[in-house]
Amino acid sequence: MVYSLAEGIQVRKESWGLLFYQQLQHKVCFVRSGDWLYPRHFDGSWTFDGIIGDIARHTGTPAEIIERSIQKLTKHLTDSRMIVDELR
């Protein structure tokens, strides 16, 4: 499974996490992910496990803890149509 931004969505890194912008509705979505997630994680090349591994590497947080949070977060972002998932 890899993640990409949905059509018409842009994202940028902020000190507290990620700011998503939805072009069609001119709306923003605040995601308080701190330094765990970066826009690159949604460029379509990162698998779920790849994201977990990357966060674990640069934060030193145990993978099980990261996995629980990121699972919830990616579901929320998918449900709100900020990102799409794709099986590879």
Binding site: R12, E14, Y21, Q23, H26, V28, F30
Partner: protein, 341 residues
């Protein structure tokens, strides 16, 4: 913590008044535009500003003025901005559109066009925008209709057009456009017409109810409503100035918002200072970010609106620490505490 307190590294969107030149002389013009200023930015300077905004990942630029389509390099600048993936919204009076403009707008997902119309009839519109403008604006809207263009008709709600909002919605719909309504604010030429054109409390309340009942009406004020709550309850939304938005004037000065283009609130000029520096460090922007009118702090809705629009408060009372004078909650209190005679 409220979303409004989450610091942003750059605006989500900004207003860019690209010229002071305008072929109309609307009595409610927020910037008092008429003729081009001598030291307006040239194309190279604008391109350099776009490069800064793109590097900061500003998502959207809203062009106004003045009439942006009168700027000789406007379409090339727009095309340059689109190469950076930045969404644009062009606010035009609709009277100077031509085939090239329409072609530039058509089928472009990065373009939103907003044509200003201030009445559903010539009698009302022309009192605000000038004699003969209703038909000129409609002739401008017609070539945009039916095309693949995100189109809205924008009406600044005043006492003159208040009763025509339903008609304006239908008129917009007949051109495949949505109606957007904006608050009338006493800046620019509107300072002179404020007393004549402002809504009274009953009209504001009626407007608020009308908006609550019709989610299809767009509002300038909640264009970037971060909670979506602004349209519920009693209408006022939180000010995004210096938090989510700001304004660049035709000469490169950066202000908290299009309505606050007053020298004492200028954050700096892009000919001398980088956008990032102005956004992060200017005293005016820092001041606006912590602005919370004392008189509003005990209000149950304070977290939702933080005192509303400081521009209205400032131009009416010259005091940024006053509550927005069009706050409907204050009016409810006044009304309920007024003895019935």
């Amino acid at each position: 913590m409220n979303y409004a307190d989450w610091p942003l590294s750059a605006p989500v969107n900004l207003t860019w008044e690209i010229t002071h030149q305008c072929n109309l002389s609307c009595i409610h013009c927020l910037s008092g535009s008429s003729t081009e200023s001598a030291d307006e930015l040239d194309m190279d300077e604008c391109r350099a500003i776009v490069d800064q905004l793109a590097a900061l990942k500003v998502f959207e630029i809203n062009f106004g003025g003045g009439e942006p389509l009168l700027k000789s390099y406007f379409l090339p600048l727009l095309r340059y901005i689109h190469t950076k993936g930045i969404v644009t919204c062009i606010s035009t009076n609709g009277t100077v559109l031509n085939d090239e403009t329409v072609a530039c707008f058509t089928g472009n997902p990065l373009v939103n066009v907003q044509v200003s119309l201030d009445g559903a009839t010539p009698e009302v519109n022309d009192r605000i925008r000038g004699q003969g403008t209703f038909h000129r604006i409609i002739r401008g809207i017609e070539p945009l209709a039916g095309k693949d263009i995100s189109l809205s008709i924008n009406t600044v709600v005043t006492s003159l057009n208040f009763t025509q909002l339903g008609q304006l919605k239908e008129l917009a719909g007949s051109y495949g456009a949505r109606l957007r309504v904006s608050r009338f604010r006493p800046s620019g030429r509107a300072r002179e017409s404020w007393e004549m054109l402002k809504l009274n409390s009953a009209q504001l309340r009626e407007l608020s109810e009308w908006l609550n009942d019709d989610p299809n009406i767009l509002t300038g004020d909640s264009f970037f409503s971060i909670s979506g709550d602004g349209r519920r309850q009693l209408g006022l939304d939180m000010c995004g100035a210096c938090k989510m938005t700001c304004c660049i004037d035709p000469c490169g000065s950066v202000y908290p918002c299009a309505f606050m283009q007053v020298s004492e609130f200028c954050g700096g000029n892009l000919r001398e200072t980088s956008f990032q520096d102005i956004w992060d460090n200017s005293a005016a922007f820092r001041y606006f970010r912590q602005l919370e009118p004392e008189s509003c702090r005990k209000c149950p809705r304070f977290d939702k609106c933080r005192g509303g629009c400081p521009a209205v408060a400032y131009f009416v009372s010259k005091d940024l620490n006053r509550a927005d004078p069009e706050c409907l909650i204050n009016w409810s209190r006044e009304t309920s505490s007024t003895p019935v005679v």
